[in-house]
């Protein structure tokens, strides 16, 4: 009996036995042949027959060539009158409404501000991302015509590992500092080097837990016309002893190098780091946080050797020349402190404003 007869008979007795295999064969053939590739005469590799083109560049008009003259890019003391663009970068492990409200209060025109956020690959990051999305959609929604829009907003999900726990005590444990700061540096770099655009004149690093700054923050800080300039980060708290609201220094990463710091550094192995604020490693470096004078002129500048990232104004050319946040010990320094060292190696001076306060959230 031939196969044909057999199939005919099977069709009569039980059509499913014929239809199902044929359908299966068709599906199988589809999978085997649909992923087919093509080869090219001048290459030993296989290529996709129909390559996706999500950006549709191939169909753009032929002279779609953009041209930017970076010689015209300036970063001057009168940023506002020169309409210089500022990129505000924030690594965000958790979203604080006060941070966002403060950001929206800044008086610099929003069409000159670009925002960049990076969230870690954790469940904390997920939550921050949801809140951030809601907040951004309120401002950038085209239907909300009365709200001024930011020139550009980029939100990134970090690809590299991040420490799960961001609890205050875990965050500051001395041993975990190197790893945490290294991952932080990687996050900062990923954010910086994917958002820095051809029109960016200034980069303002503003931490997600900075909840209070002067409204003229950008004008004030660019006005000093410094390559790298750090504000003094303090914290508001309730003083249990005095029974009143008070303030205390918070960011100890803004410092001036000391002989003791250099001496300790010279004795360390290449891959060891020095971090400020731990009694285990007393460097006796003058810390900008301690130089605050409530009566003093807020425009007073002091030269620094290490900076923190809580509120840091950087001329974009410093980053473009290559100054980044080392995720490895660079002169025994890491992250923002390593950045200050690298900026100095590139010939830039680093300054701080001891009397110009911004406030960190109190958790």
């Amino acid at each position: 009996m031939t196969l044909k007869h057999r199939i005919q008979r099977a069709m009569r007795t039980n059509p499913i036995k014929v239809v199902v295999p044929i359908v299966a064969l068709v599906i199988l053939a589809f999978y085997v042949f649909s992923s087919d590739t093509v080869s090219k005469s001048n290459s030993p590799y296989k290529y996709k027959k129909h390559s996706d083109d999500p950006y549709d560049f191939a169909r753009l008009p032929g002279d779609h060539i953009t041209h930017y003259d970076l010689n015209k890019l300036t970063a001057t003391s009168s940023a506002l009158s020169h309409k210089e663009k500022v990129l505000i970068l924030t690594p965000m492990a958790s979203f604080h409404q006060q941070y966002w409200d403060n950001l929206l209060r800044l008086s610099y025109p929003r069409e000159l501000i670009e925002l960049g956020f990076i969230v870690p690959r954790t469940s904390d990051g997920d939550e921050a991302l949801r809140n951030l999305e809601t907040a951004i959609k309120k401002v950038q929604n085209p239907k909300a015509k009365t709200i001024p829009k930011f020139a550009r907003v980029t939100v990134l999900r970090q690809d590299t590992d991040a420490v799960e726990s961001q609890l205050e005590k875990d965050r500051h444990a001395f041993k975990s500092q190197k790893k945490r700061r290294s991952q932080m540096a990687t996050a900062r770099n990923s954010l910086l080097f994917t958002t820095l655009g051809p029109f960016t004149s200034w980069v303002l690093w503003l931490d997600a837990d900075v909840v209070e700054t002067p409204v003229n923050l950008i004008q004030d800080m660019t006005g000093h016309n410094k390559a790298v300039l750090a504000a003094n980060c303090w914290q508001r708290f309730y003083d249990e002893e005095k029974k009143e609201d008070s303030i205390r220094p918070y960011d100890y990463n803004n410092w001036v190098e000391s002989d003791e710091g250099l001496r300790i550094a010279s004795q360390l192995d290449d891959d060891e780091i020095i971090v400020e604020g731990y009694s285990d490693l007393a460097t006796y470096r003058p810390l900008m946080a301690h130089f605050y004078d409530a009566e003093g002129d807020p425009n007073v500048e002091m030269q620094l050797d290490g900076v923190g990232g809580t509120c840091l104004m950087v001329k974009s050319q410093v980053h473009r020349d290559g100054a980044m946040f080392p995720n490895f010990p660079f002169y025994h320094l890491i992250e923002t402190e390593g950045f200050a060292k690298m900026a100095k190696r590139l010939g830039y001076d680093v300054f701080g404003l001891p009397n110009y306060l911004i406030f960190h959230i109190n958790e």
């Binding site: 295999p21 950006y55 560049f57 020139a151 990134l156 958002t195 290559g322 490895f328």
Partner: protein, 428 residues
């Protein structure tokens, strides 16, 4: 069961073929189910992580990127991985036609390649020619020739040194020159790299010969940073060929010792007698018959043709415009990548060819060779006239002289004469 129709197809007693035929529906159903499941899981990878949804209708000028989606893989061209192709240019008009010839021939899907150029300190018409050639390429009737996004940046850095071969390659010029070039590369990288770039390719314009599938050739090694070997052809009088790029090397004890003796801002440059490092160079390890797939781990690399993952630049690796571990620019980049724990490799037996630019000494020698050739020609002409004048002005008397010589010198040749000559050898 009616005998007329033969045994039932599911019968246990049926021949093997019948039994397999009977099982076919089940087999195919299972295969189809598995294939469907595979297709669904592979084609649509669901992440547990939350992804916001921004578009022009709910948030203007707002974009979200999950950077993990843009990690490079070994067969990026099959996964739609985008490359940013970075080209620093300076007075490069003469090389552009050759460069565009290579670019057009590239086999990596063109629409996945974004081009970024930095034109700096150019006195020739680099800019004009670049735009013309790009327009021509992007208006090609064949859409598969068209590249992705194209950006040209201009930025002048000034320069203390000329662009002649010897100016550029003299020893004292190296440190400052390399730092300036590093700055140029960093400026280009800082504006060219977008979140969606999985790969970054750095290429000099003055490469003469290079396989069209170089991107795939380098990419399939799946390294963070990888470079080919770079040689250059030479005229016959200089030996035919020569290693060109000596910046790709592995660190040696000699190199580390030398580094320790130098001050903080010094930059070690390879290929100069002043800094003998005894490092193994990628260029010298070439075997023309060696396996082009052979990999070699490197510490310093050259910049003629670098393929790196986008992630390398995202996490902060760059071309140090200062002395980083006593190195700058591409060599410093190699060192920094190693410091960051990234893989840096070279392919000793996979070679691309840089153009030959004669050095000042070579130029002098070539001038001398040219002068010599002219001189020889002139001399030949002078000799012709000289010979003619000689022939007409003088008569050869050589044969006659041969005849007469014996007779004339008859009395002067002591051996032909039978004269007995007595010499008095006594002292007195």
């Amino acid at each position: 069961m009616d005998e007329k129709f033969g045994p039932p197809i599911n019968s246990r007693n049926s021949p093997l073929t019948h039994r397999i035929f009977g099982l076919l529906p089940q087999i195919f159903t299972i295969i189809a189910v598995i294939a469907t499941i595979c297709y669904i899981t592979l084609s649509d990878v669901h992440s547990d992580l939350y992804s916001p949804d921004f578009d022009a209708s709910n948030a203007v000028n707002t974009h979200f990127y999950d950077l993990e989606g843009y990690d490079g893989s070994s067969e990026g061209w099959l996964d739609n991985e985008r490359i940013i192709f970075c080209v620093p240019l300076r007075d490069a008009a003469a090389h552009l036609p050759m460069f565009f010839g290579h670019v057009r021939n590239m086999t990596y899907p063109h629409h996945l390649i974004d081009l970024a150029f930095l034109v700096s300190d150019s006195k020739d018409d680099t800019m004009g020619l670049l735009v013309t050639m790009l327009r021509e390429m992007q208006n090609d009737p064949d859409p598969s020739m068209h590249f992705g996004q194209i950006e040209i940046f201009e930025k002048d850095f000034g320069q203390a040194i000329g662009q002649g071969f010897t100016d550029r390659h003299g020893f004292s010029a190296q440190g400052p020159r390399r730092k300036l070039m590093a700055k140029a590369r960093n400026w280009l990288q800082s504006v060219a790299l977008k979140p969606y770039h999985s790969w970054v390719y750095w290429r000099d314009v003055d490469v003469e010969t290079c396989p069209p599938c170089i991107l795939e050739d380098l990419m399939h090694h799946n390294k963070d940073v990888i470079v080919p070997n770079v040689w250059r052809p030479l005229p016959d009088w200089l030996g035919g060929q020569q290693p060109y790029d000596l910046n790709s090397w592995r660190e040696s004890d000699g190199g580390l010792q030398l580094a320790n003796t130098l001050d903080e801002d010094a930059v070690i440059v390879e290929g100069y007698a002043e800094y003998a490092t005894w490092r193994p160079h990628l260029a010298y390890l070439r075997d023309p018959y060696g396996d082009p797939e052979t990999e070699m781990e490197l510490d310093g690399i050259g910049g003629v043709s670098i393929l790196a993952k986008g992630r390398v630049f995202r996490i902060g690796a760059h071309f140090p415009a200062f002395s980083f571990e006593k190195h700058a620019e591409t060599e410093g980049f190699g060192k920094m990548c190693r410091r960051m724990g990234l893989s840096v490799f070279g392919l000793p037996h996979y070679v691309i060819w840089h153009i030959y630019e004669p050095s000042t000494d070579d130029l002098k020698h070539m001038e001398w060779m040219a002068r010599e050739e002219v001189r020889m020609q002139k001399q030949e002409e002078v000799m012709k006239i000289y010979r003619k004048v000689w022939d007409t002005g003088f008569q050869s008397v050589k044969d006659t002289w041969e005849d007469e010589k014996v007779r004339i010198l008859k009395n002067s040749d002591p051996f032909k004469l039978s004269r007995h000559v007595i010499v008095d050898w006594s002292d007195q």
